[in-house]
Amino acid sequence: MELRVTDLTVTRGMLRVLCGVSFTLASGGALILRGPNGIGKTTLLRSISGLQPPLDGSISAPAESFAYAGHADGLKATLSVAENLEFWSSIFGRGGVGTALEAFELTPLAARPAGMLSAGQKRRLGLARLLVTGRPIWILDEPTVSLDADAVAMFVAAIRAHLGAGGSALMATHIDLGIAEARVLDVTQFRAPASGAFEFDEAFL
């Protein structure tokens, strides 16, 4: 499924952070967002995945086509690895978590409570969730945080498999993942001009 974003303006706390963001992401393609901290990458990703409405502009794909993975993995400490994943797979109406566990080498940890995992293992479980959603466009916010080199390789393999199956991925990351086909978009060029004239009423909305 193709994702076309046209002239998107996103806001954070009533302030415009990015203006006129436009790009096209074809199926099978990957797009990496770059930019300094605080530029609005997370806000942009949340707006595209439908968590917050954009101020202006259009997103061609429906909200049902996105699988969003943010900074938090949404894991429950007292549920086991397999139970966490099975929950999400049944929410998305799909069965079978075996391949997702396999892809991130979590099978030996399947019965362990998620609270006992290390930060990197939690992250791997959070990324394994993407595989059970079955959605075509993955939206990833800093997916490689706390992953070691082997886990990054697993992640890249999962992304490659997803792209090969006709999916696409939009991610914000600072490290070079070595995905040759990925395009890089620097969002600094879309930075919203600092608006000195603040609408007085907006302070009370």
Partner: protein, 218 residues
Amino acid sequence: MIALLIRDVRLAIRAGGGFGLGLAFFLIVVVLVPFGVGPRTELLTSIAPGILWLGALLACLLSLDRILALDWEDGSLDLLATSPLPMEGVVSMKALAHWLTTGLPLVIAAPVLAIMLNLPPQGFGPLVLSLILGTPALSVIGTFGAALTVGVKRGGLLLSLLVLPLYVPTLIFGAEVSRRGAEGMDFSTPLAMLAGITCGTIAILPFASAAVLRVNLR
């Protein structure tokens, strides 16, 4: 949606889930009241319906901030919002899970604890009936309050203040049903009012909670 319900009930029952919190609070209130009131059984009999209802309401209030705050903190709420489940379904299941783990145990424990408050025998049926009909409203209203305060750090105080006035009608009619039942009077009018409040909140508030939650997730 059943998966969400099963997960929430399972989380509540497992260690640290807070399943026994409301029940223990209810037990403490009801056990301590006779000590505070003193050895006057007639007085206890007359205040028993009110104390039992108040105890159940406060026990319910105690666990409200867990309904959505935990899911907000670990990011599950964002993921649920982007999942195929409608937000109205999510909040309804959250409220149902809260009722199953908090309201239902209170309903079951109430007749046992009513003995300690010297509730007359004919009052047991109306008490259980009023709690069964009234506590779902407490969970649904509580979920609305939790949705309103979901982004607020340590929002428990704000949540209590927001929710308490909304609890008052349920408390009035619920306690009235069990009081009239205990005194052997006809209790059909307050029972109809109580059932009406519960049905109304179940019909309307999930939509309000979902709308509020969408705003709070921005």
